[in-house]
Symmetry: C2
Subunit: 345 residues, 2 copies
DNA sequence: TAGGTATGAACAAACGATTGTTCAAGATCA
DNA sequence: TGATCTTGAACAATCGTTTGTTCATACCTA
């Protein structure tokens, strides 16, 4: 049984066995200021440490250094592929830098409690915050935080650190692609009217139209939120128009739109092309498989964690980092428009 | 600016302001052994603590009590809805009990490191472990753990604590439903041949057939793993048979099967009914919307966290807890077979 | 050879809580 | 009134590190 060996060995035990002081052991094991230690002593200590399978007690270290080497991430939803990707990215970077990731799901209801709890109890050194809340709500939540934080895909006027996706460019690219297929009447299934990202996407959509000399028609734009059911509802408006293609703000609303159209008897993609921003496995699972502009959400998580860690290390990084959209992924949901447009249904 | 107030107040500061000893403050704030404290003193301390917005320093407490009040959860994938649901459940229960949840994504590659790292550094009091690894790999990983752990939807002979879903009953129920629709030739799109859960599902499938006096036909069973592409491949076998319905092990493989059949020109659900185990939002996004037997994965997370916490509190709970499957959710992917079966394609 | 500088390691003070023990003063009793 | 018991709170040790300071020894230099 090696059980005994696995039990936590303390610095004191290593010190005793190596017949030196704990401080010496600590210095050797930390690897810093090696100058002041005889090679022979160092070796002896290293040997004993290995034999005892010594691991620094994380808690003691955290107390002494008043740093927990833990990052918290607060997300509104855990099952949204966008957030899980961000979490994965953040976790990777955190781990790579010796940090752990504390996850905290926060229902839009319980304002602030999570952020406050994590940061005020000194559980985390910093916070990664993704929120769907309105600006004021988020702002007042963050006021409770007594640690540095980075916002995910969100911008809040002020000095807050943020990592944002370039929704505008992504929207532009998606729209541009539809145009390149020959579509002239392109609907936009957008996000919440007030939201920053919704505006950005709309702007990108307009840019693409403009570049192609297509007049912007407000009746082709419907705003909802980012849910499946909102997608279904919104698309009913577009179905009444002569749109031949839809650029959707996100995967799930695109899925809603396709489901609804199909139920109404439309042939997809022949009668309506659909493209969405963001990409995930299930874009491929839809029928027709959904064309998308991939958004680097995992990288957003990585970059945010990086930013936070560098901030924690004393750096003073750029407050806002924008990530370019990823590549266009053409699947089966986008085709050239048929010569004769469908009249209505 | 209330900034100053928000800075971490220590026990000593509260004690000083209330003109008592730290130990007294601690006792009052812990709420234990209240007997030995004058009501008046207690009140004064409480008042000061509130004024100073005192929060116990989590790290100091952890060191002193040698408990971190943190649970670790190790998952193989972060974007799989099954795991995110489990995480959500675990996080809820953890939070409710004053624990935090440390998340750790563990690629099937880096054997053991994660578990060892978390537990040997005293970062967590216990571990929730979800793994797709083979038994021996998992077992050797766990040998490194020097904290209690609970396995998620996995059983490992021995005394390990587990929470498992009743895959057998779920499979039975799904199959039973297909039979009730009139299907007699039912295919099963299963999981990894060696896996415990795969066996269970197969057993449930057989039970339902038997109960309906339908002979078991091995050629109607194909095993793969739980991915989209595996679903596509496996279903080709079934397409060659006279099966009129498929009971799939999980959502994504069902989605793969549907995608493949459709590409091959099948009419769904008329020519092939499909039902899957597990439920998530995207079952509704598929076309036709996928019928499922819901599996309580979120509850699995909750129960597992509960189990772990009770174990940490000194209880000696049942090693294996089985959760009954949830209800049958009938959507559009399952219909009665047509009188004349499709011959082939 | 005496005085000064490196060198290597021990000493000791935190970090901020929890908790067993001690102790002064007031209450109780004979 | 003196001895004993309660009560309320202070004292003090401890958890396992990190890190500034002290200190003995050996080494130089003059």
């Amino acid at each position: 049984m090696t059980k005994k060996q696995r039990q936590k060995a303390t610095l004191a035990e290593v010190a005793a066995m190596a017949e030196v002081d704990v401080s010496t052991v600590s210095r050797v094991l930390r690897g810093q200021s090696e100058q002041r230690i005889r090679a022979e002593t160092k070796e002896r200590i290293l040997e004993v440490a290995k034999k005892l399978n010594y691991r620094a007690n994380y808690t003691a270290r955290a107390l002494r250094m008043s740093r927990t080497f833990t990052l918290g991430i607060v997300v509104p939803q855990l099952d949204n592929p966008v957030f899980s990707a961000a979490i994965r990215g953040a976790e990777n970077v955190a781990a790579k830098n010796g940090y752990s990731l504390l996850i905290s799901h926060r229902d839009p209801g319980d304002a602030g409690t999570t952020i406050a709890k994590l940061s005020q109890m000194n559980r985390v050194d910093g916070l990664l915050v993704a929120s769907l809340d309105a600006d004021e709500v988020l702002r007042s939540d963050l006021a409770e935080a007594n640690v540095p934080y980075v916002l995910l895909n969100r911008q809040l006027p002020g000095t807050a650190l943020s990592v944002v996706l370039d929704s505008r460019e992504a929207a532009r690219r998606a729209t541009e692609y539809l145009i390149s297929l020959g579509h002239l009447r392109i609907g936009h299934l957008g996000g919440r009217p007030g939201g920053f990202n919704a505006q950005e996407r709309l702007a990108g959509y307009k840019m693409a139209l403009e570049a192609a000399d297509i007049a912007f028609d407000p009746s082709l734009v419907t705003m909802g939120d980012y849910t499946f059911s909102a997608g279904r509802e919104s698309v009913r408006e577009l179905a009444k128009t002569d749109a031949t293609a839809i650029m959707a703000a996100t995967l799930v609303s695109a899925a809603g739109a396709m489901a609804e159209l199909r139920l109404a008897g439309w042939q997809l993609p022949q009668e309506m092309s659909v493209i969405a921003l963001h990409d995930a496995l299930f874009a491929e699972m839809l029928f027709p498989a959904l064309s998308t502009v991939m958004m680097p959400t995992e990288e957003m998580g990585r970059v945010a964690a990086d930013l936070l860690i560098s901030k924690l290390s004393g750096a003073d990084p750029e407050p806002v980092l924008a990530l370019p959209p990823g590549r266009l992924i053409v699947r089966d949901s986008t085709v050239a428009p048929r010569s004769g447009a469908r009249t209505s249904k």
